[in-house]
Amino acid sequence: MALTTNAMTMDRPTEPYGKVGTWWFLSSEIPTFGGVLVAYIVMRLGGTGWAEASQHLNFQIALVNTFILLTSSMTIVQAHNAAQEQDFKRTANYLGLTVVLGLGFLGMKAFEYATEISHGFLPSSGIFWSFYYGMTGLHGLHVVAGIIINLVLWIQAAKGTLAQHSHRVELAGLYWHFVDIVWIFLFPLLYLA
């Protein structure tokens, strides 16, 4: 009994496991994208012809995609807000909206790839295009994974089974925001610079 002093529990963090685990996962994702971004930056700074190649990208599509992804970040926060209030109907709606926005992003991206390929810009067309397809492809895979997660949660919310583990919305949100942040840097690096 006398042992339940401060010293006994002192340095055990109070965060839920899931949240800490998700953050650890993101911490390993940071160097993954960081490594490629760093490679892109240094090779672009030391290379030639990158800016000209980037002129061929469709800047409008990317701009719309930026708006889409930022908005989807907002909607998943709203889903989390709703889940905290145990309003699972609203949670489902916002999650559904997030999924739709994510699919919209992928659709636009697919259209963008198609136009570029039809103009003859393939992954093999040079180092800029290698990085363009490599980085957006890697990011796109993360978007796909995020959509699947959000979709599962949406189904659970719609079926009403989300109530026991509503914190999962927050975890999915953390991942989704991370994917969003990656895009926040990819957009200027590829399209604006």
Binding site: L3, E15, Y17, S28, P31, G35, P123, S130, G134
Partner: protein, 570 residues
């Protein structure tokens, strides 16, 4: 949730065979799955080592039990030997098997934080194993670009003569890394958030700390290599030019992406090995680990430093030569925290009361061998000496001394030490001691002379040293080393016999056969499904051996002595 858990305890375990042994979420079963996979791979790794050594000693003759070794097959063997030993033996054995088994037991948790994630990670690893195994049978054979897979050699099939073997190799690595990422998340969350009451960070067994640091180092370093592997796959299959200089890429990019992880990886393997050594030495020296806190701080510092030394693998790669100096300084400075750890272990032995059981022999063996490996590392770290010894057998001998000390010696020590806890039976001591002395002798007879071969200038990965006049003086050594290597492999038969015999017929183990303090020994051998009948409460650090004023020379972490004694044992 709690109700279900206590229910499972009250009644007999009624899970089906499949959910108990195959798709199990129990960290102990998962640990055994990792253990068996890594031992399986160790067989293949040893087989490849035998063929490599045969070819070096008797080039272009028929290897006993195999036949003629084609030069391209030789390159595949070299590549797969490195890949298997580092990624499919050392990591699953030291990290996954013992980390999984011991972290929850040592911190007093019922299981990992995310048991299903844990199961996923072992099955991803199994998938990686299948992919890597399948790569042997691809047309053109397995990957043949060295375990470092430097492009352009690895980027185009026409350079190696290989085919899908290389793609599968990359895929297997990516899957393996994904598996260990999930494992790492589990380790970290479990050890930080699921500690039993009273188990403060500074009361954690040092092995848990080492596993934690290793997991952090792994998770924060592996990303660039995963990305690099994906880029290499794209280069190979979609025609991108990340590593192709004629398309604006740069082969050096891969080396940076790879070694940014590749060097920390060394510490990922090394730290758990040191942790195991420390655990075993404390128990059998009957003495607290000398300088517990400084050891942990030093290991954390070493973990950090390991991120800023990666380019020492690239001194001669065409990297900017000015970079070699700062990286040489950081590389040699990393010896400082390890010096502290080593000195502390030696200080632990001072005025101790040592019992030389098999695990203790292996632990002291690790220490002795690792010191040698650490000291030869200074030569490699010095950029100037590296000009001559880079890519020679001196380097090969060095990293076998550091890594094998941790995989072979610490790994075997851990198996002998925790075997009773894992399987409920003791291993045979006589066979164990024979195994140790044979292993220790042959190991040193292989890799000691190998340094001299390296000083003679013999390059790594050459299939036929007899083609070179300047290597004539080392030929007798090569033949001797090969003979010793074969004997070392044969000596492991003693272990295999001991392992399987003990598994079924060994002496039944008590809960705490070694009279050790840490929490895993407070539960039965083997522990029940949820580890502890009730959550243990921790009153002290893990190494209160030979505490003055106690009648016993050990004091379990969870033993309540009452208030007065608590003040004494801080």
């Amino acid at each position: 949730m709690n109700e279900i858990a206590t229910d499972a305890h009250a009644h007999s375990d009624n899970r089906s065979f499949v959910s108990r042994y195959v798709f199990s979420t129990d960290h102990k079963v998962i640990a055994k799955q990792y253990l068996s996979l890594s031992l399986f791979w160790a067989l293949l790794g040893a087989g490849s080592a035998y063929l490599i050594r045969w070819q070096i000693a008797h080039p272009d003759t028929e290897a006993f039990g195999w036949g003629y070794i084609d030069p391209s097959v030789y390159n595949q063997l070299v590549t797969m030997h490195g890949t298997i030993m580092v990624f499919f033996v050392a990591m699953p054995l030291l990290l996954a098997a013992f980390g999984n088994f011991l972290i929850p037991l040592m911190v007093g948790a019922r299981d990992m934080a995310f048991p299903r994630l844990n199961m996923l990670s072992v099955w991803i690893f199994a998938l990686a194993s299948i992919v890597l195994f399948a790569s042997f049978f691809m047309p053109g054979g397995a990957a043949a670009a060295g375990w470092t897979g430097y492009p352009p050699l690895s980027a185009k099939n026409e350079y190696t003569g290989g085919g899908y073997g290389m793609d599968l190799w990359l895929l297997a690595l990516a899957l393996e890394f994904a598996s260990f990422l999930l494992g790492g998340i589990n380790f970290l969350t479990t050890a930080i958030n699921m500690r039993a009451p009273g188990m403060t960070l500074m009361r954690l067994p040092v092995l848990v700390w080492m596993q934690l640091i290793a997991a952090v180092v792994f998770m924060l370093s592996v990303g660039p290599t995963i990305a690099g592997a994906i880029l290499l796959l794209l280069d190979r299959n979609l025609g991108t030019t990340f590593y192709a200089p004629d398309g604006g890429g740069d082969p050096l990019l891969w080396q940076h992406l790879f070694w940014f992880f590749g060097h920390p990886e060394v510490y990922v393997i090394l730290l758990p090995g040191l942790g195991i050594t420390l655990e075993i030495i404390a128990v059998f020296a009957r003495k607290p680990i000398f300088a517990y806190r400084p050891i942990i701080y030093a290991s954390i510092i070493a973990g950090f430093l390991s991120f800023i030394v990666w380019a020492h693998h690239q001194y001669l790669s065409g990297m900017d030569p000015r970079l070699a100096m700062p990286f040489s300084v950081t590389t040699i400075i990393i010896s400082v925290p390890f010096a502290l750890v080593i000195f502390s272990i030696i200080a632990t032995l001072w005025r101790s009361s040592m019992v030389f059981t098999t695990p203790m022999l292996f632990a002291v063996g690790t220490l002795g061998v690792f010191i040698f490996g650490g000291l030869t590392g200074i030569f490699n770290g010095s950029a100037a000496v590296d000009i001559y010894i880079h890519d020679t057998y001196f380097v090969v001998a060095h990293f076998h001394y550091t890594l094998i000390s941790n995989v072979f010696f610490a790994g075997f020590g851990a198996i002998y030490f925790w075997f009773p806890k894992m399987f409920g039976r003791m291993m045979n001591e006589t066979l164990g001691k024979i195994h140790f002395w044979l292993t220790f002798a042959f190991f040193n007879l292989i890799f000691g002379p190998m340094h001299l071969v390296g000083l003679g200038g013999m390059m790594r990965r050459i299939a036929n040293p007899t083609q070179y006049d300047f290597l004539k003086p080392v030929e007798p050594l090569n033949i001797f080393i090969t003979l010793m290597a074969i004997l070392l492999i044969l000596a492991q038969i003693v272990f295999v016999i001991n392992f399987f015999w003990s598994l079924f017929a060994g002496k039944v183990a008590a809960a705490n056969p070694w009279q050790a303090n840490t929490l895993e020994w407070t539960t039965s051998s083997p522990p029940p499904h949820e580890n502890f009948a009730e959550t243990p409460v921790v009153y002290r650090g893990a190494y209160e051996y030979s505490l003055p004023g106690q009648s016993e020379d050990w004091l379990p972490q969870n033993l309540d002595l009452g208030d007065n004694a608590k003040a004494a044992a801080h």
